[in-house]
Amino acid sequence: MPTATDTVAAGDLGPLTTGDGTPLKTALARATRRARLKALFLVAPLLLFVIVTFAVPIGQMLYLSIYNPVFSDNMPRLSSWLRAHDVTEVPGEDAFKALVLDLTEARANRTHAQVGTRINYERSGATSLFKSTARKIKKIKGPPYKDQLLALNEEWGELHLWTVMSRAAAPHTAAFYAQALDLSYDAEGDIVRAPENRRIYGHLFLRTLLLSALVAGLCLILGYPAAHLLASLPLKYSNLLMVLVLLPFWTSLLVRTTSWITLLQSQGVLNDMLVSVGILSDDGRLELMYNQWGTVIAMTHIMLPFMILPLYSVMKTVPKDFVRAARSLGAGPVTAFLRVYLPQTVPGIGAGVLLVFIISVGYYITPALVGGSSGQLISNQIAFHMLQSLNWGLAAALGALLLGGVILLYWLYDRLVGVDNMKLG
């Protein structure tokens, strides 16, 4: 029978053990396993839900940005030829033979239009080229394939078309990312910047970031005093104010956005008022809707609660005594605010700005409704490619870049301010 001193001595010599000699760590793991399993069982439904409805679809979508098998699946012969050969000039008879055979089959399977669309992403005019050629493909009964095809449409003799097809032959492609970054392949297959009039996305990304930063900044300027008021008023008043802050949350986004249209459009309430008072002349009405200002004004209004709530929750925890102490120590109101109050609300500012900025960067409905053309954000382009041009690969690439950008900014924020400092509510 070991005495108390024996146990202590044993503990000094090696790993701690329980009474029956099991290592303490094993015993502890065994004892907590049940509790951990139970906890896992309780969160399992949520985990499953998130994986099935969120993680997997997003993963698939992101995969689409680098994977497009339309060409290689439907043009198998030509694809394998293109993979096997380097395209530096318009190829010879055997490649055209593969093209004709594949196109005949695609015509039978009615997939030739898809293939044309895929090539059209990188070379405009390809859709109609594939369609018109496929319609007449039955006329080509045998060799020489190249001459007959060129007779049908001499565009088939262009090197650029062949380099595009050569890249499309590989199901994995970086072409969508290149396009999303305003880059393109030239006729030799080198990556170059897209021609000036074709660069849209870089500009759009920049505009999205700038407008989001502007919205976040406006929200901070407008929300900070409101949050302070909310945090310092007695409960009976602050509750009412809180309802006013939250009221927009309970109103439909569409209703709010269309209200802004009614208020701010050139024949709207605000302009009518300014004209009737005589501040503006009738033909000098302010253009506040269907441009960047429309987007900024409407989004600032929508984002305000996301700024006020984190600020409020931080300010609530800053005791009144701090500012009083600063004042009694000789600091004027401004100094006391800047040196004592403001630094202590930094976690709230960080959380609010980051929240508003990240939500704004991906915002879609409001810019679509009130943004006109100059107030469109990158998400509107993503939606366009998802719903109208059906270029899902490009949409996915744009989305992935947006996601990557936000993660990068978040990482920067963490390095500069520290995420631990952030308080969301």
Partner: protein
């Protein structure tokens, strides 16, 4: 502790006589927050240079409000406050030059201890070298010389308290306000800090206005105590006078332990009065705060002034009998709770010495006290 006021040559160890402190005067000050009730009703108070004055009272009595008005955080609704004979109602808090120690210290959490101490100096645009010297000296003073680079959160409660005191003193104000500064400390630390603050006051000669609801703390520290209740100063006296000569029933009850007996006055003669007790019996008491013959009064007797008497002792003016309800052993003395003249909470303190008479629960014993130890005060119903 070795405390020197930095502006003075070393070696001056004189207590408050130097007159470096400020004087404060409240004149007819009233305060209302809601326009319906007065929190402070006509406060008139003179605080001398270098005095340690404690404002004592239950919560909601107006003591903290008075302090906040003096500091400048709350405007007086009516009346004027003077600092060194200058009216200060219109002076904003940062220009009053008053040091303040807050209940929860209010050390700025985003600054180090040294930065906290440097704050009042840097907002006064003092040169950096001078700031560093003063901060070092202030840290010496509170015996935390190596703590300058720490954050307040890394300090214990007592250390934070010292830093808060040092910060209020570092810019050498003439007046220090303290709002229940020791409330968050445990008993032992609190007692130690009471002495340290008292010593700082004695050595620097500053005027201190100290708010507390702890009467023992007030008795330990103050030169004078100002007892507040319901927005009115009940009594302003030295600690001993407050304890031994309470002016009214509230003060008698609030300061120290007190036995209360109610009755009505049958006769008043030469500063003494005769009171018939509600619970039977009649006693002689000092007529301190009584309305007149036939009116009701509440008697106040300190437990340590009541003695158990044998049947032969007859040099006591007042003699009653009581039934022993409970004995509580407290080492140096024994508390005897008994029922006297209908009061079931009458307490007698017996010193635990060899001559202690033995009493048992249930005994009926004779007790007595001198007329001078029993004060007839304003009636309260209880």
């Amino acid at each position: 502790m070795n405390i020197q006021r930095s502006s003075e040559p070393t070696g001056t160890d004189d207590p408050a006589t130097g007159g470096t402190g400020a004087s404060v005067r409240f004149e007819n000050v009233q305060k209302s927050y809601d326009g319906e009730t007065l929190v402070i009703k006509d406060l008139n108070l003179d605080i001398a240079r270098g005095e340690f004055l404690t404002m004592l009272g239950p919560s909601g009595s107006g003591k903290t409000t008075s302090l906040m008005m003096l500091a400048g955080f709350e405007p007086a609704t009516h009346g004027e406050i003077y600092l060194n004979d200058q009216p200060i109602n219109a002076v904003p808090p940062h220009k009053r030059g008053i040091g303040m120690v807050f209940q929860n210290y209010a050390l700025f959490p985003h600054m180090t201890v040294a930065e906290n101490l440097a704050f009042p100096l840097s907002v006064r645009n003092m040169p950096k070298a001078e700031i560093a010297a003063k901060v070092a000296r202030a840290l010496e003073m509170v015996e935390l010389p190596d703590f300058g680079s720490r954050r307040p959160a890394q300090l214990s409660g007592g250390q934070q308290q010292r830093v808060a005191v040092a910060r209020a003193l570092v810019f050498e104000p003439d007046l220090i306000l303290m709002d229940e500064p020791l409330g968050a400390l445990d008993k032992q630390l609190r007692e130690q800090m009471q002495y340290e603050i008292k010593h700082i006051h004695d050595n620097l000669g500053v005027t201190v206005v100290y708010v507390t609801h702890d009467q023992a703390e007030a008795l330990t520290m103050a030169d004078r105590i100002c007892v507040f209740d319901q927005g009115v100063v009940q009594q302003l006296s030295t600690p001993d006078e407050l304890y031994e000569k309470p002016a009214n029933s509230f003060v008698a009850q609030f300061i120290g332990e007190n036995n209360r007996l109610s009755g009505h006055i049958t006769d008043i003669q030469g500063g003494e009065c005769r009171v018939d007790l509600d619970g039977g019996g009649s006693v002689t008491a000092l007529a301190v705060n009584v309305a007149g013959t036939g009116e009701r009064a509440t008697l106040s007797i300190r437990p340590e002034r009541v003695v158990l008497v044998g049947p032969t002792d007859d040099n006591l003016a007042n003699r009653l009998t009581g039934r022993v309800e409970e004995l509580i052993y407290l080492g140096d003395h024994i508390r005897v709770r008994m029922t006297v003249a209908g009061n079931r909470g009458f307490v007698v303190k017996l010193r635990n010495d060899g001559e202690r008479p033995s009493v048992k629960v249930g005994d009926t014993v004779a007790i007595g006290w001198q007329a001078a130890d029993c004060r007839a005060l304003d009636p309260i119903d209880a």
